[in-house]
Symmetry: C2
Subunit: 247 residues, 2 copies
DNA sequence: AAGTGGTCTAGACCACCGA
DNA sequence: CGGTGGTCTAGACCACTTA
């Protein structure tokens, strides 16, 4: 099995060589062979493993990189993507922290363990009644509450957060998930809609009941495609703003 | 100047060969050497012209293709992109025509030539007072008006539309711009926000004054990067829905 | 200096399209 | 069939990072 090893069993007959290799590498990553943030073997090594020329192996890598699955760093190596950039992924939908340079703050209003209601279960892809951690979080700017977040986390996975005082939590949740729970958010889908605030929610935001709000429903997924967080963010509709480029 | 012709004058010193070639090709397209929808020379011809290997030329082409600038069709050739897919680019933001299979209709409510107000001029990137064609268009579904569009078109360019009875207009505007005015929309930017309807606009949509609305402000650009259309679309906020994937 | 990914070459062969 | 773009090879050399 030295030189003519090549593809052992074609995963899909109609697939080009580089696409097959990309699929194989993807599978190996999902199987946990290399974890998020870790380096893959060098191109040379992988090319030898798969019995193809370097250029072909590189095409496979480029494919995976273009899909955001791996990250290639010149002179250092190729790495499994560690997760979404720690950045303020959410606030970008709202005029939040623009200009003044003021620091946004966040506060956990409530935390409770409970069986998943139907809607939450559906979003997380778990069974109704499975245990989840439900959080209510208020994000403020300059002392003004701006965004209300309702977050649901599947529970065996996020048990650590149920046991840690919320005062010790980090401001950025996704890096915290990675460090404390070993959960790496790799992809998220946001659904944007519109509605009005009920009295309880409006009170948190300092608005009148019935005030129009923008609603961003997010589902966050890890590398394996499991939904690991369901989050609904509500904010004043008039402060909502988003830009899309169509090509 | 046969074999060692190569790059005549490097456009940017720090640029790789393929990036330089991509830039050069881009410039030739913008200069009008090949119009939208037309074929570029074959890879072989272009590689010879630039004095590089086919693989390098191909990298340049792949770059341009990934940017949506050209379209490569196996066995046929490489073409300058003709414009945005004729599709219902706009309605995708609204629940509009879902399910029932009913046919959306559109009607031009008003058309008038006028000097550009400041806001319109800013969006189109022209001077205040330059002549524009301003349209008001109502899009309906099942007899129900759903979207109100305010469209501004710079005027020397779209004169044909000022002279053609609106009854003869096509339903899809972008293909019509291409056929009748020689304007190919290649890229568009949408800004999404929420607001409320004033009495006049609400009346067109059959809603009450002050009703919450979603507002999509679009700027459409041609290949050369000129803004050729400024469009504001208003619709019932409760019918608004959009999905974004973050990676 | 050794190891990584990035660029480039000069070919070969294949898959697709149209006359 | 001839011409197009798509895949693949087996090299060479360059640029960047780390130690």
């Amino acid at each position: 099995m030295a030189s003519a090893a090549a593809v052992p069993l074609a995963p899909e007959p109609g697939l080009s060589r580089y696409a097959a290799i990309a699929a194989a590498l993807r599978a190996r990553v999902l199987a946990g062979e290399w974890g998020p943030g870790q380096a893959l073997p060098s191109e040379q090594a992988l090319a030898a493993q798969h019995g193809v020329a370097m250029a072909t192996l590189r095409r496979a890598m480029e494919l995976l990189a273009s899909q955001g699955f791996i990250e290639r760093i010149h002179g250092r190596g190729t790495f499994v993507r560690a997760g979404l950039s720690a950045a303020p992924m959410l606030m970008r939908f709202f005029r939040f922290g623009d200009g003044s340079g003021e620091v946004p703050t966040s506060r956990i209003v409530s935390r409770r363990k409970s069986p998943a209601p139907a809607e939450v279960a559906r979003r997380l892809g778990i069974a109704r009644g499975d245990p989840v951690l439900q959080l209510l979080r208020l994000r403020s700017l300059g002392g003004q509450p701006r965004l209300l977040e309702e977050i649901a986390l599947p529970l065996p996975l996020f048990q650590v957060l149920a046991d840690t005082p919320t005062a010790e939590w980090d401001d950025l949740f996704y890096p915290m998930y990675a460090q404390r729970c070993g959960v790496h958010v790799q992809r998220a889908v946001d659904e944007i809609g519109f509605g009005t605030l009920n009295a309880a929610r409006a009170a948190h935001l300092g608005l009148a009941a019935g005030h129009p709000c923008a609603r961003v429903v997010r589902r966050a997924y890890d590398l394996a495609g499991r939904c690991v967080e369901a989050r609904t963010t509500l904010g004043d509709a008039h402060a909502f703003h988003y830009e899309v480029t169509i090509t």
